[in-house]
Point group: C2
Chain length 390, copies 2
């Protein structure tokens, strides 16, 4: 994986990131990603939250056509819970981008992230679109600027790129912490490819891959009003890849972006992988893993480097999946601490002094398996989230 390249890695894409003045800090806050074709196929996956921000409502509508010429993204405001006026702001943003690029507004997706409930400063935003359009470039630097402009409490921009031997590639950026379970206002991600694929193929690949990557990072169970993952294909490579090969490369890039989200989650001191095996189904394995991932007693014990398998057993038992305590086993960092209904080893044998924690929960009931990534619950998490409004 190459983390120095992102959305401008695949050919046919230009990007820009500028300071539009939406953030009071003067930091970069507006990004533009443009697909120069020849293809314009696209797909999107959006938050399942019933309270959806204006840009999500707009982009969902736009993506019905499975075609995109551009994506405009801003940090500094989520444009959520802003009523019809907020929706008009999103619409006006798309119209502005369409006018500047000489495309249709229906070909422009919009993403926003930041505080909920406040209107966006539209004059700043509109001027920012002009500025970004003037700076559009296919360089790595332009891709990095775009990745930087969407950051909120992220400490660094997050990109990933992978080239396939057959002559096409996939690249992208992400901000936030976890599709369907972000720990801040929003998780946004834009992925590009120069493979020649139609919208249906992109949609199928994106849904399959997000279910196994973005959906399996769970920092605190939250699902934001704005979560969006977009996939754009320029077809500039002229190569139409085998669907399996494409999904594999897409999953590699998405997985790498998600790993970066985990490592930069608010207050993280432990990067935790929870693997559940032996569930009745894969969906039940995910259910158990997410219940453990979201359990504050488990998360605080991990922050304390305490291999407290009893709290894990408690969390497993309260999940909605089928569990039999007599078949349950729990291993932490390679040491089986609980098996066959008994303590199997002294908890002190599991070493949690490092940053990486590997928890394996065996249910002993079936073939369902899944891994969910999470973090611990630290003082820094409480500090960031009690002091920062998002």
């Amino acid at each position: 994986m190459n983390r120095d390249r992102g959305v401008t890695g695949p050919s046919g894409f230009k990007a820009a990131g500028v300071a539009a003045g939406i953030k009071e800090s003067g930091a970069l806050d507006l990004a533009l990603v443009v697909n120069e074709g020849p293809g314009q196929a696209a797909a999107g996956v959006f938050t399942t939250n019933q309270v959806k921000a204006a840009p999500v409502l707009w982009s969902q509508q736009v993506l019905r056509e499975r075609r995109l010429r551009a994506v405009v993204l801003n940090s500094g405001g989520a444009n959520a819970c802003t009523g019809p006026e907020g929706f008009q702001d999103t619409h006006a943003t798309a119209e502005k981008v369409a006018a500047v690029l000489d495309v249709g507004a229906i070909e422009v997706a919009v993403c926003s992230t930041g505080l909920i409930g406040e209107r966006l400063p539209m004059d700043d935003l509109t001027a920012g679109v002009d500025k970004a359009a003037a700076e559009l470039a296919a360089t790595d630097r332009a891709g990095l600027d775009a990745a930087t402009a969407v950051m909120t409490t992220d400490t660094h921009p997050k990109q990933s790129f992978q080239a396939h031997p057959d002559g096409w590639s996939v690249g992208g950026f992400v901000k936030g912490a976890g599709m369907l379970s972000p720990n801040m206002a929003t998780m946004l991600s834009v992925i590009t490819t120069d493979a020649a694929l139609d919208g249906d193929a992109l949609d199928a690949a994106l849904r399959r891959v997000t279910a196994r990557t973005y959906d399996r990072l769970d920092v605190d169970g939250g699902t934001s009003t704005n979560d969006t993952v977009l996939l754009l294909a320029s077809g500039a490579s002229g190569v139409t890849p085998d669907p399996e090969e494409f999904a594999k490369t897409l999953e590699a890039v998405a997985g790498d972006l998600v790993k970066q989200l985990q490592g930069d989650a608010e207050g993280v001191t432990k990067e935790v992988a929870i693997t559940v095996t032996g569930a009745l189904t894969e969906a039940e394995a995910v259910e158990v893993a997410k219940t453990v991932a979201e359990d504050n007693l488990v998360k605080t014990a991990l922050f304390g480097s305490d291999p407290n398998w009893g709290r894990i057993a408690m969390a497993v038992g309260r999940s909605r999946a089928t569990v039999d305590q007599h078949r349950l086993s729990i291993a932490i960092n390679g040491v089986t601490l609980f098996a066959d209904g008994h303590k199997a080893a002294d908890r002190a044998e599991a070493d949690l002094s490092g940053r990486d924690v590997d928890i394996v929960v065996g249910l002993g009931l079936g073939d369902g398996t899944a891994t969910v990534l999470t973090t611990d619950l630290s003082h820094a998490y409480v500090e960031e989230n009690s002091a920062y409004s998002s």
Copy 2:
């Protein structure tokens, strides 16, 4: 409500709390509550967790008869995830109490709380039963000792008592923080009454009342392996109350005990009541309120005294209940901050400087209403739960 009296408030009951040496600290750790009759009707409500501690499995079995002569409780060890040997320990404990009191083991319920996965020191526990039996008394002091002996991270014993004008009364104690959602190893509660009621009447009243009290405190979504609420009736008053009257008094005592749990929850700096109105059903109102109560972004904002209604809207939207963002309203401490899809007032108008926070979420869809109590997520919560093994 009288918080100076508890299980020995109603006539027909004796209690004791002793230091049996289960806790290394030498603190009180074994409690006995004995029903001297003439009636022995009883009812119990237990954890929904699929991983159930040995004492829960035992007491569920015993309560099928809806008769109890005694309850023995210990802190210092949960006796959960301890296999058949742990169950034998519980059985032996009941047999010991039965022998000392000259009753049947099937008339003795057992409750435990503390660390999961460790066997109990049975010699200490058995000697403790002898000691407690010798100290049994009907005094307020004896009831307080019993309430004290079940404490783990509780900072004070929690009792409540209410006498009914018709000559009967209800009293009880509780430890932990929240049936179905405790923030430590376990929530245990024993309630007594001298009303003359049979087991079926007690069971009906207890289920109805716990659903509206213990089940509506949600500190961190956890549901322990050991959660138990027991209700014992001596009939010593000779009065059989009207079922509605009895449920009302029982709910007053249970509600007061739950309020004390909330106030003593780990790391609490805010006592938060989340009321949801206008849900399609009462169950959906509970679902929405619990999703808000368990949301770490909401809880950390409250710790920061930030009336961040956007995070509340986010949590409401991700609940499994039906939500329409255009009908949603949110008020904090009496100030409506969001209504009709818009910001309704500046967040600064809601004053969160005090300890009590009152959140009202209006869904505008139906008649379902519920209130769930919770706390904020503070540095002290992280500290206690990362440093204390439970």
